[in-house]
């Protein structure tokens, strides 16, 4: 009997305690990442908008890439991280992993939207149209739909346990499909409009341009981590609102105010 109960207890401790342990940790880390993000973003903007030279062909307009490229990179990367946490959650049955992937989704979708928006703004002067069915823009659009589907599904299911697992499955299915979608769209694109202007012909980059973009990408990383940690905290509070530690925590916070 005893040897049967032991693993049970440690397992339930693992499952229940993890969010409780993570909550204060996330609270401590998030402001630091937010600070780093703000500083990096300021440096990146300064490099991009004041230091980097004007492009010979595109003029000042090209400067939107300092936001556009970082956002596009981040939107794809965040989806992979989401799929990773979903996988961990399904295999290990840890709640925090599911919370992580759900906390990441809105940020990923936001970056996706920013990438599309800035892409359109860039496209108008460059291509003469806000939108062309370029392979990258199109797969970015489909990625946005995947994000929206994930968020809609996890919010439509009331039971949090079902929502977690269902969301994890669709995230994994999406992750398997993202490369397929990307390559099929690329193939479709080369077949249908080979002659159009493509993002591939980006101007050869000056070192300051590259540095600026990298700094902006790092800023996006730090921002994502900070925002996700804050979102994880509020999700933990919502999920565990009936537990003693959350009630104590909330009372303590109210006491401070």
């Amino acid at each position: 009997m005893k040897d049967m109960q032991k693993p049970e207890r440690s397992k339930s401790l693992f499952r229940f305690a993890a969010p409780q342990m993570f909550y204060p940790l996330a609270g401590k880390l998030a402001p630091w990442f937010a600070g780093v993000a703000a500083i990096l973003a300021a440096i990146g903007m300064w490099l991009g908008f004041f230091v980097a030279p004007t492009d010979a062909v595109q003029g000042e307009v090209y400067r939107v890439i300092y936001i556009h490229v970082a956002a596009a990179w981040m939107s794809m990367f965040v989806y992979l991280v989401m799929a990773f946490w979903s996988f961990v959650g399904l295999v290990m049955n840890t709640r925090l992993s599911f919370i992580m992937s759900q906390a990441l989704a809105p940020t990923g979708a936001m970056f996706c939207f920013v990438a599309l928006w800035t892409g359109a703004l860039w496209g108008k002067p460059t291509w003469g149209a806000y939108w062309v069915w370029d392979a990258r823009l199109t797969s970015q659009l489909l990625l946005l739909f995947l994000y929206l589907g994930f968020m809609a599904l996890t919010r439509a299911i009331e039971d949090p346990r079902r929502a977690d697992k269902a969301g994890a499955i669709i995230a994994l299915v999406g992750a398997v499909n993202v490369p397929i979608i990307y390559f099929s769209v690329k193939w479709w694109n080369t077949l249908h409009q080979g002659a159009s202007v493509s993002l591939n012909k980006a101007p050869s980059m000056a070192t300051t341009m590259l540095t600026g973009m990298l700094v902006m990408a790092l800023a996006a990383w730090a921002y994502t981590i900070a925002v996700t940690l804050w979102r994880v905290r509020s999700l933990i509070l919502e999920r565990e609102r009936h537990t003693d530690w959350v009630i104590a925590e909330l009372n303590a916070q109210e006491g401070k105010v």
């Binding site: 809609a152 269902a166 999406g174």
Partner: protein, 225 residues
């Protein structure tokens, strides 16, 4: 082996029998396909060259939409009357009867589309040689749609507004199938040969046959929990 095939055969034959008894639903799906295809000339004008150009895309998009229309029926009835719980309690692997259900669903809703499509293609004056490619691309592509769609149907089982959610979940996943399916016919018409497209569709069918039932089975377990 025969023991494992028992549930597979039982589910397949029952679902086909049910599709036959409820054939009005199947006919509605088919009618939807025909009507959607026939709407396009009214929207874009009856210029024969234009219609010829857009025909593969139109047929494929319409096939995709009618697949979507029937998807929510795949598990809904079994979920409501408790059959799904019983099926999940069968000792044999869940994927077996999941594949049986999806197969029956495709035979009832996908296969009629494949059969009707060439007739509709003639309305768009598609070259007769391309009809074979169209049939083949639909025969390879619509099962993929059913397999991917089944995952979405299982995930949205019993949810309010499940139909719209299902569309949002699966339509982005359908895009590659659409590209290669319609692309096969285009490639044939442009003279570059449809073989590559059809091979990719075949590969996609095998891959989704291997993976989608697993995801679908997991989603069904979650849905009844």
């Amino acid at each position: 082996m025969s023991r494992a095939l028992g549930p597979f055969a039982a589910v397949l034959s029952r679902d086909l029998l049910l599709a036959w008894r409820g054939r009005a639903d199947v006919l509605v799906t088919l009618a939807f396909f025909v009507v959607v295809v026939c709407l396009f000339p009214f929207g874009v004008g009856a210029e024969p060259n234009l219609l010829r150009t857009i025909a593969p895309g139109v047929l494929w998009v319409a096939a995709l939409l009618s697949t979507l229309l029937s998807l929510h029926r795949l598990f809904a009835q079994d979920h409501a009357d408790g059959t799904l719980e019983q099926l999940l309690l069968t000792p044999e692997p869940t994927v077996l009867w999941v594949v049986a259900k999806i197969s029956a669903h495709w035979i009832a809703t996908g296969l009629p589309l494949v059969v009707v499509a060439p007739g509709l293609a003639l309305l768009f004056d598609v070259e007769q040689g391309a009809l074979g490619v169209l049939i083949l691309s639909l025969a390879l592509g619509t099962p993929i749609l059913a397999l991917l769609g089944a995952v979405g149907a299982a995930l949205t089982l019993g949810l309010r507004g499940g139909g719209m959610l299902l569309a949002l979940l699966v339509l982005p996943l359908f895009v590659p199938v659409l590209i290669f399916g319609a692309g096969a016919v285009d490639a044939y018409l442009s003279g570059s040969g449809a073989q590559a497209h059809l091979l990719l569709l075949g590969g996609g069918l095998l891959a989704s046959l291997a993976l989608a039932p697993l995801a679908c089975a997991a989603a069904l377990r979650i849905a009844v929990e």
